[in-house]
């Protein structure tokens, strides 16, 4: 056996200096018998080891022959040779030319499935690179398969680059390793799309020449060829469109995003053709010699087994072909949605766009494309607008601060300009991070939201100081105007949004136990939403004050423009958000009172607190809020005092609380039904509010008061608010 001496970076550092000792043709002596005999002399549980080698080191050893740890085991257990591409070609196990149309279709479909499996978080080595053809497309002689293999490699390469750049993935989302494979880097993108187009045109000619003509007797063989050509044509074209769309995303012009959107639409139009021809390609055969992996010409699931690190998820389940078209359909929809972002210009709108997009739990590729479309090379929004300008626009839209109004003397005051510019510059990084956080997967978002509160607390402090400086400057120049809590209000608004999202996402992620619901909903309704509403109305009145001033100034110049005055009676920019917050607050209050009442009736299961207490849990749940100064965190003791029912006389009974909860749900329903253009979110909340009104009324009337069966909370209608079900 040939020994290869290589220096490994073993983290424990064991055996440094070994490689030079390992040489070829070492003289090995068998000591099995003696060794085993000597081992027998050790005591039970005794470890014989070097002074420098202890338990800690032993812990990190992988256990051989344990299927969970030993990745090399599987490859060794199949009764066949695992061939690489060159060997397989040499052995005649796979062909690189004269492939039939069904063979090509089948290989491509399997490749698509591998691509999807990779995008869903598995390693390239266990997915796309189980296809031997992509190992070295130069060896392929069939032009269609060659172009396709290069196309797939390019798609992988660009997708990988995008995902890496956007940096909104974690190990559970994406594996970026390429295991030293060449990603078709020796061929330009243009060349590959050109090759695909050539093959596509050739196939289209065949499709046309085999098409049925009117009045002609149809030859079944020609019909078959027609169908097979069409199947292959659709796959090649689909690959080309997908690749071209991804290339469009790498360009810096905004126009290329709408270009990508068009390409995606064309790809979507091909899906029915793909779907109807999935059965045409050769299918894989299930054979036990390859473990659970189906056998498919050109694919060897174990070819990269030895490239994997010692401990690795052993098995990547490749998705089924039937699901492939469905997945592509959804992927295309997501990418098309991503393209829409360029139509939103306001930062708050963009933030909402990111939140909404994230709510569908999109895949890592679409999330990354959204990030890289928004901030091109981390400098400018959509590649055109500096982030600072966007923040100023957001401030103007939200609180209309005098300092950013061209009608105010501060606008051209260089000192005021310095203040605001430096503040806006400081804002830009936290807001970019905030937008980036919304690109992460849902579970990671929550953790990151908790951390970013610290940065916003610093901004809050600065905002208040800048407000104060600007105010004193303004008092000297225009004593009739104020600059109080403008920037502060805006930062506070974002603070509150983050805090609310942090708490609500705990419901979505199913982190809370039933007995915790009451203090979470209390914190939301009594505290965070109350603060949010007062913040929004302060911003609203600040806007109005600014508008009044503008009007007065205009009146001074021309008294004709009184018509414009009526505009202020119309919908205020923030009115919808204020209304929605009222609805959310009522939903939370309703849930809070429901939980208290259920608890009174003994219908909430409580844990046996042994090692912790409710206080420990409460403090853990709200721990990230401790870094926030405004609003100040509500500590457990305060919460207990504030929510104490004994301060009412007489203290409410469960029936009173059910009734009050019902009223809150009723109130939420009224508010939502008065919204002129209800969006899906409004309808979702209504689906919870309506049944809860009824259930609470029933409970208030003593319905099933004696039953000890615990109620059920059904979050299927809304992520954050459950329909309460009494069984």
């Amino acid at each position: 056996m040939v020994m290869k001496s290589s220096v490994e970076d073993d983290d424990a550092g064991w055996g440094l200096g070994v490689p030079e000792k390992m040489r070829n043709n070492a003289n090995w002596v068998d000591i099995t018998h003696d060794f085993k005999g000597a081992c027998k002399e050790l005591n039970l549980g005794e470890l014989l080891h070097d002074k420098l080698f202890g338990l800690f080191e032993a812990m990190s050893a992988i256990e051989m022959m344990d299927p969970k740890m030993d990745a090399g085991m599987i490859g060794n257990q199949v009764n066949r040779k695992v061939l690489n591409f060159e060997q397989a070609v040499k052995d005649g196990a796979i062909r690189v030319r004269d492939l039939s149309l069904p063979e090509l279709t089948g290989i491509m479909d399997t490749c698509f499935c591998c691509l999807i499996t990779w995008l869903e978080g598995h390693s390239l080595a266990q997915t796309v690179f189980t296809c031997l053809y992509v190992h070295n497309p130069d060896l392929i002689e069939d032009p269609a398969l060659k172009a396709f293999a290069l196309g797939i490699l390019k798609v992988c390469d660009i997708a990988r680059e995008k995902v890496n750049k956007a940096a909104v993935f974690e190990e559970e989302d994406f594996q970026a390793m390429t295991y030293g494979f060449k990603m078709a880097n020796n061929v330009t993108d243009l060349r590959v799309t050109g090759m695909l187009k050539d093959v596509e045109d050739e196939l289209q000619r065949r499709v046309k020449s085999t098409r049925s003509r009117q009045g002609e007797q149809r030859d079944p063989e020609v019909e078959m060829e027609h169908q097979q050509c069409l199947a292959l044509f659709s796959r090649i074209k689909f690959t080309r469109l997908l690749l071209t769309a991804l290339i469009a995303f790498t360009k810096k012009e905004t126009s290329s995003v709408s270009e990508a959107q068009k390409l995606m639409q064309q790809a979507a139009d091909l899906l029915p053709a793909l779907h109807s021809s999935v059965q045409q390609g050769i299918q894989s055969q299930n054979d036990t010699t390859k473990g659970d992996h189906p056998i498919m010409m050109g694919f060897e699931p174990l070819v990269n087994q030895r490239l994997l690190p010692p401990t690795f998820p052993r098995y990547a389940k490749i998705i089924k072909r039937e699901e492939m078209v469905n997945y592509f359909g959804k992927l295309i929809e997501r990418i098309k949605t991503v393209c829409e972002v360029i139509n939103t210009t306001n930062m708050h709108g963009i933030l909402d766009f990111f939140c909404e997009f994230s709510e569908q739990s999109p895949c890592v590729l679409s999330r990354s494309l959204l990030q890289t479309t928004f901030l091109i090379d981390n400098k400018k929004v959509f590649g055109i607008q500096p982030m600072q300008d966007m923040i100023k626009d957001a401030l103007r839209y939200f609180v209309s601060p005098p300092v950013l109004s061209s009608k105010c003397c501060l606008y051209n005051n260089h000192q005021a300009k310095d203040y605001i510019d430096s503040f806006v510059t400081h804002c830009s990084r936290p807001f970019c991070s905030l937008i980036q956080i919304h690109g992460h997967n849902r579970a990671r978002q929550r953790d990151k939201l908790g951390h970013i509160l610290e940065e916003f607390a610093t901004l809050q402090d600065e905002a208040e100081k800048v407000d104060a400086a600007l105010h004193s400057l303004l008092m000297k120049l225009e004593p009739q105007r104020q600059h109080l809590a403008c920037l502060g209000t805006w930062i506070l608004y974002h603070n509150l949004r983050i805090m609310i999202q942090y708490l609500l996402s705990g419901f979505e992620l199913e982190l809370y136990s039933m007995h915790e619901y009451y203090y979470i909903y209390w914190y939301l309704s009594e505290f965070l939403y109350a603060w949010l509403m007062s913040t929004l109305s302060r911003a609203d009145s600040s806007q109005m004050a600014e508008e009044r001033l503008l009007e007065e100034q205009q009146k001074g110049r021309s008294s004709k423009k009184t018509k414009k005055k009526k505009k202020s009676l119309g919908a205020r920019p923030l009115s919808r958000e204020i209304t929605m917050s009222q609805a959310y607050q009522n939903m939370c209050a309703g849930m809070y009172k429901t939980m208290i009442a259920l608890d009174m009736d003994g219908k909430v299961r409580k844990p046996q607190f042994e090692l912790d207490s409710e206080q420990v849990r409460y403090e853990h749940r709200f721990a990230p809020f401790n870094s926030v100064v405004t609003p100040p965190p509500v500590h457990y003791i305060q919460f207990k005092e504030m929510s104490d029912l004994k301060k009412y006389s007489p203290p409410p009974q469960s029936a009173d609380l059910y009734m009050a909860a019902s009223k809150h749900f009723q109130q939420a329903k009224l508010i939502l039904e008065n919204i002129p253009t209800p969006d899906p979110e409004v309808n979702r909340i209504l689906k919870v509010a309506k049944p809860n009104i009824v259930v609470m009324k029933l409970l208030a009337g003593g319905h099933k008061k004696e039953t000890k069966v615990l109620p059920e909370f059904d979050f299927s209608a809304h992520k954050y608010f459950p329909v309460v079900k009494i069984l």
């Binding site: 068998d30 002399e41 549980g45 470890l47 014989l48 090399g72 695992v82």
Partner: protein, 114 residues
């Protein structure tokens, strides 16, 4: 693995006390092999080469900087070892144990019977 470690506890130093019982000779033999290069063949035909770091009564062996070689009949993947790092081979999967002959020069007892 975890079980082996839990049971170990303070007893791990017994061997180093050097009691002069009959069993201490086996211990000395094993100690003299510590940090020597070792080649272990496993029940599934693979061979691991690495530094002998640790063993116990059931002949579970831990090798450091281990490299995995496939069975010699596999003509294609032969020769290219896979780096495993720290690896524990359960005693019942150990088929044969070999050491380099010159590393036996300074050890007592091993190999002399062969």
């Amino acid at each position: 693995m975890a079980k082996m470690i839990e049971e170990n506890g303070p007893s791990s130093h017994i061997g180093m006390q050097g009691e002069l019982s009959s069993s201490s000779r086996g211990r000395q033999k094993l100690e003299s092999l510590l940090n020597k290069n070792m080649r272990i063949r496993m029940t599934d035909g693979r061979t691991l080469v690495g530094l002998f770091l640790c063993t116990d009564r059931d002949c579970n062996v831990i090798l450091g900087s281990a490299q995995e070689f496939l069975k010699s009949s596999d003509s294609f993947s032969q020769g290219e070892p896979r780096v495993l790092g720290l690896a524990m081979i359960p005693g019942h999967h150990v088929v044969s144990i070999e050491v380099e002959s010159d590393s036996l020069a300074d050890t007592q007892g091993f190999g002399s019977s062969h």
